[in-house]
Structure formats: C-alpha cells, structure tokens
C-alpha cells in the first residue's frame, strides 16, 4: 500500500470516499509517524487514544453518508486552542496543569467537520517568537537541514510545532495562529502552505489571547487546495467573539480555477530592502515572471509606511499582551508561587511562570500604556497603524492582489538570533504590515535556497477576498512545482 502519510488532505478525502482506506488506517499511519518523530519535539501533548476514537467515529459517519469537510483527517492542533479535557499550555510554565472545561470555536468547528486530533502542537510561549526557541517545553526542530550539514535549524514561529508536524508528515495539516506572521513565516521555513485569513473570519473564542486586534487562526497544509478545504471548516460567524464577522463562508475550493488572466498583481517597491538577500530577490523576480506567464498584469505599487510597520507592531502587540496576560495571577488557573502577601504572590508567580521574551514584551507593553507615555507610544503606534492600513486601501483600488517574499531569509540555526531581540523581530518584516491592516495572506513554497532550505512567496488580498488569494496562490503553486521534501533523518 502507498504511504498514507504522504497524501494531501484532498487526496486522502478522495481515497476514503472511494473506500481505498479508512480513517482508522490513515490515523494509525500518522500516529506511527508522530511517535517516530519525537526528536522534532513538535508536540507538547499527544492524544493517540482520542485520535483512534475519533477515526472510528469518522468511519461510521462516512459509512452512513454523513461525512463532513475534513472527515477522518488527522491533524495537529496548535496548543493555543483550548481543547475540552485535554491539557492546554500555550507553551508556558504559567499554565501548568490547565485543562479547559470548554472547546475553542475553531477547534470545535474542525471536530464538527470530522477532523481527528493527533495532539497539541508546540509553539513559542504565548505565540511570542519567530523561531520556537521560547517554548517552556523546548525547541521545535525543523525537519529540513542545510545540504551536507546536520546543524539543527529553527522551524520558525510561533506555529513551529504545527509547521514541523506537517512538513515531517506526522500530521496531514495543522491549525496555526498568526499575530504578526506566526503562520506564514514558519510555513515558509518548512516548505508548506500557511494561510492567515482576514481578521474576523475565524473566531478567536477559546484561543489563548496574545494581541486581540491581530490574532487570527488559519490552516497550515501541504497544498493550496488543502488550505482552502481546511479554512472552510475553521471559519464562520461566532456570536461569542465580538470581532467575528457575520458573513457567509464561501466554498473556497471553487475559487481554484487556475485562471488569473487579467488580474492585477501589485509589487510594492518598499519591500525591496536595502541589502536584501539576492536569493530572496531572485525568488521574488521568478514569482513575478510566473504571474506574467499566467496572464496576470504586474503593477508597481507603493506602500510608503511599510518601514514603520514593525516598530508600530512592537508597541501594539506588547501593549495588548500586557493587558491580556494580566489574567495569569496564580489565582484562577495554572501555576501559583506563594509569597509574603497577595501582591508578592502575583509577582512571584509571574516571575517564575513567564519566560524572558514574554516578560520583555509585558514590560514594554506596560510601559507603553503607562501614564505619561500612552500618547507618545501607544496612541502614536495606533495612528501609524491607520496610515499603514490606508496605504493598502489605496493600493487595492487599482489591484487585486499583492506578491512579496514571505521572509527575508531561509530558516536559520538555533541560537543564531536568539541573543538579539531586534534581529529576531526583523524576521516578520514582510508579514507584519498585512497583520496590522487585517488583510488575508498566504505563504506558498516556491523554491530552495542555495543550501537546500525552502523559501516561500506571500500573496496578500483585500479584506474577505480569500477567494482571489487562493486563486493566485494556486497558480503560484502550479508554476513553482515545489515537490522537494526533507530527508527523513528524524525517523527513529
């Protein structure tokens, strides 16, 4: 029999529909692969028993002709989504032992469409990081390595466990969350498709909050079609999230026509950084050529405030985090470190429970919101955010989508950037602007670097125009013919 772990979601759905194999078989193959890839540390909690039970139920549904959109597909759930009865950590010590009594809306939607949970995927602590080096549960390893070099590489972050599990064929797909690039950047680093929907498309209810005006859940998959299928299962209006948007969820797959003739694709000149890596520039040029060859019209555009997106983000996201993470006080859930009095108990619990990067951001955020500095930092950043969003609005009057690189470099080695927070933040230079504007974005694997690591191209579209996004991404995927996979050195 063919290796079931190498199938796409869409091929596996077809295979189960045709009766070629069952969800139990498909799930068993992935449990074996997951157990054999422990060295990647992609999972914080594995739930093979839950998976087998769900797969059995899925097979029964399919036999009755009641299969859902993702029925029988084994996936990894980022450990930022609350899952009823299954420990949820956000990769932080401060949530020790937290087992939710409720299910997040997005994970609940996936289970309602028949998806099977293999386990909870590792991530940067509270999704704060771009390399998965801040998890309390240890680094996640990228299945890819440089050619002829066995130095371990970072998988990107914060959805690094999700990325690593999908790229290593342990999971068919995974959920991610993206605040400033946490789906798209790791997808690019491991050679898979990572998609952030428009802000408001997926409910944030039951997702551990980082920065509420930016956080958005999305799919991480090995094909654009899989991404479209999974988003349809995840998305939808939820009255429990006040920023969830009440509009119908389209059949995203039907947007994959392969026809982008006449579409206008914007190329923002401000994304050409000084001293840009020539490999990244070459990949971008190649992408532009693919778009032209497919009949799209290339339009040079300007997004003048691009350069200010990262510094604005590093005020807004920490400010929102400092407010959201106030709830971790040693009283209601997780870790408690006793102190001399109540205040000392709070401060001791938070000192021990949070890692260095989280503390750094909480201090920046607290400072930016404190009396006397609020106008200079937070209000200023929110105004700059308006200008960045206006840049996109203006550009989109004349174009249908934007094409850029996803990241300024390929994956890097552990420790190469972790001593310098600013160098780490620059990883998100191409992904943060669309996050601030709430736009949908997708990273598609498009080539390999000279030393054999995957590189992605990013497509951005108008708010709630995920259909154009998928259409352009599909054409990009077809043109790129990215079929490379990492050597499976990690299988024990």
């Amino acid at each position: 029999m063919t290796d079931l772990t190498k199938l796409t979601v869409s091929a596996a759905l077809d295979g189960m529909a045709a009766g070629d194999f069952s969800s139990r078989e498909l799930t068993a193959a992935h449990i074996t692969a997951m157990e054999a890839s422990n060295v990647l540390n992609a999972f914080i909690t594995k739930t093979p028993e839950v998976a087998v039970e769900a797969a059995t139920a899925s097979d029964a549904r399919r036999a009755k002709g009641e299969a859902g959109l993702m029925d029988g597909i084994p996936i990894a759930m980022k450990d930022l989504f609350c899952t009823k009865g299954v420990q949820t950590t956000a990769a932080s010590h401060i949530l020790d032992g937290f087992t939710p009594k409720y299910e997040s809306t997005v994970s609940g939607n996936l289970w309602a469409e028949g998806a099977v949970m293999l386990g909870k995927a590792n991530l940067d602590e509270f999704a704060m990081g771009s390399s998965n080096e801040t998890s309390f549960y240890g680094n996640v390893i990228n299945p890819w390595r440089r050619t002829g070099d066995d130095h371990p590489m970072v998988p990107g972050g914060s959805s690094g466990g999700s990325a690593s599990s999908v790229a290593s064929f342990s999971a068919m797909a995974a959920t991610g969350t993206d605040t400033g690039g946490s789906i798209r950047q790791p997808a690019s680093f491991v050679g898979i498709v990572g998609m952030k929907p428009t802000y408001g498309r997926c409910s944030r209810w039951g997702v551990v909050a980082f920065a509420s005006s930016l956080d958005q859940a999305g799919p991480m998959t090995r094909s654009v079609r899989d991404s479209a299928i999974m988003l349809e299962a995840m998305a939808g209006f939820d009255p429990k999230d006040s920023t969830s948007v009440d509009m119908p969820v389209p059949d995203f797959q039907s947007a994959l026509s392969g026809d982008i003739r006449g579409l206008r694709i914007g190329i923002p000149k401000e994304y050409q950084l000084d001293g840009m890596n020539p490999e990244i520039q070459a990949l971008w040029d190649q992408g532009i050529d693919w778009m032209k060859a497919a009949g799209a019209e290339i339009v040079n555009i300007s997004l003048p405030n691009t350069k200010y997106a990262l510094p604005a983000y590093y005020i807004i996201a920490p400010a929102e985090a400092s407010s959201n993470l106030a709830r971790y006080d040693g009283v209601r859930f997780g870790l408690r470190v006793e102190g001399e009095d109540l205040n000392d108990m709070y401060a001791s619990t938070r000192a021990e429970g949070f890692g260095d990067e989280v503390k750094r951001r909480l201090l920046i955020g607290t400072y930016a919101l404190s009396a006397g500095y609020y106008d200079a930092y937070y209000l200023k950043a929110q105004k700059v955010r308006t200008r960045i969003a206006d840049d996109f609005k203006q550009a989109f009057q004349n174009i249908d989508a934007i094409l850029t690189p996803t990241t300024p470099s390929a994956a890097f080695g552990f420790g190469e950037k972790s001593d310098d927070p600013l160098a780490m933040y620059l990883n998100d230079v191409f992904t943060v602007p669309a996050s601030l504007a709430g736009l949908p974005g997708i990273s598609v694997p498009a080539g390999l670097s000279a030393d054999g690591l995957p590189l992605g191209l990013q497509v951005l579209a108008k708010p709630f125009d995920e259909e154009t996004l998928f259409k352009v991404a599909g054409v990009l995927e077809t043109a790129a013919e990215f079929t490379a996979t990492p050597d499976d050195w990690w299988r024990g």
Binding site: F98, T99, P100, K101, Y199, G200, S213, L214, S242, T243, V245, K307, Y308, P311, A312, Y314, I315, S322, D329, G330, V331, R332, F333, G334, L335, R336, E338, G339, D341, L342, D344, M345, Y346, A347, R350, A351, F354, K359, R360, L363, I364, T366, Y367, S370, Y373, Y377, K380, Q382, K383, V384, R385, T386, R387, A389, P421, L422, L436, A437, G438, P463
Partner: protein
C-alpha cells in the same frame, strides 16, 4: 526617552513581575535598545490621523440583555491552584 533602573523597577511592579535588583541594569539596556528602535515612529506624520481602533470595517453588534449562559461554578474553579466550595482562595488581604 530612556529608561533608568528605577523606571524599570516601577514598570515591573505595575506588570506584577518580580525582578531581582541585579537584573535591572541588563533589563534596562534591553528595553532601551527596543524603545530606541521604536523612536523612528516619530518620523511619521500623524497630525489629523485617527488611531486605528477597529480592524474590520464593522459595527458592534447589539444583543438583548438576557442571561443566556452560566450555572457551572464547579467548571469555573476547576483549574484554580487553590479553592474551596466554589470559591477561589487567595492569601489574606485584610488583617
């Protein structure tokens, strides 16, 4: 604007994170490095620009003011490090 040790200690207290005296200098340097980089926002012209407070172009929804959920105190306190009889317990705050 530059943070000194005393300001870092004050911010850490506001954030309820205990920071050892010996770590304050190092932390001040790190935070100043980040804040120094953020200073470039001053270059952006923002007079007469409204701060962005809503990402999606939408109106807040209204709903009837009715109790539609609740009644599971046991679930609410189930994850508390310390509690009894459906209450959270904390160190004594009033002598």
């Amino acid at each position: 604007m530059s943070l000194d040790k005393a300001t870092v200690a004050k911010v850490a207290n506001l954030a309820r994170i205990k920071v050892e005296e010996k770590d304050l200098d190092h932390l001040a340097d790190e935070l100043n490095n980040i804040l120094g980089w953020i200073e470039q926002l001053g270059e952006v012209e923002t007079d007469n620009v409204e701060p962005m407070t809503s990402v999606a172009d939408m109106q807040m929804r209204w709903r009837a003011d009715q109790v539609t959920d609740g009644g599971y105190a046991d679930d609410v306190v189930a994850n508390a490090p310390s509690g009894e009889d459906g209450f959270f317990s904390v160190p004594k705050v009033i002598e």
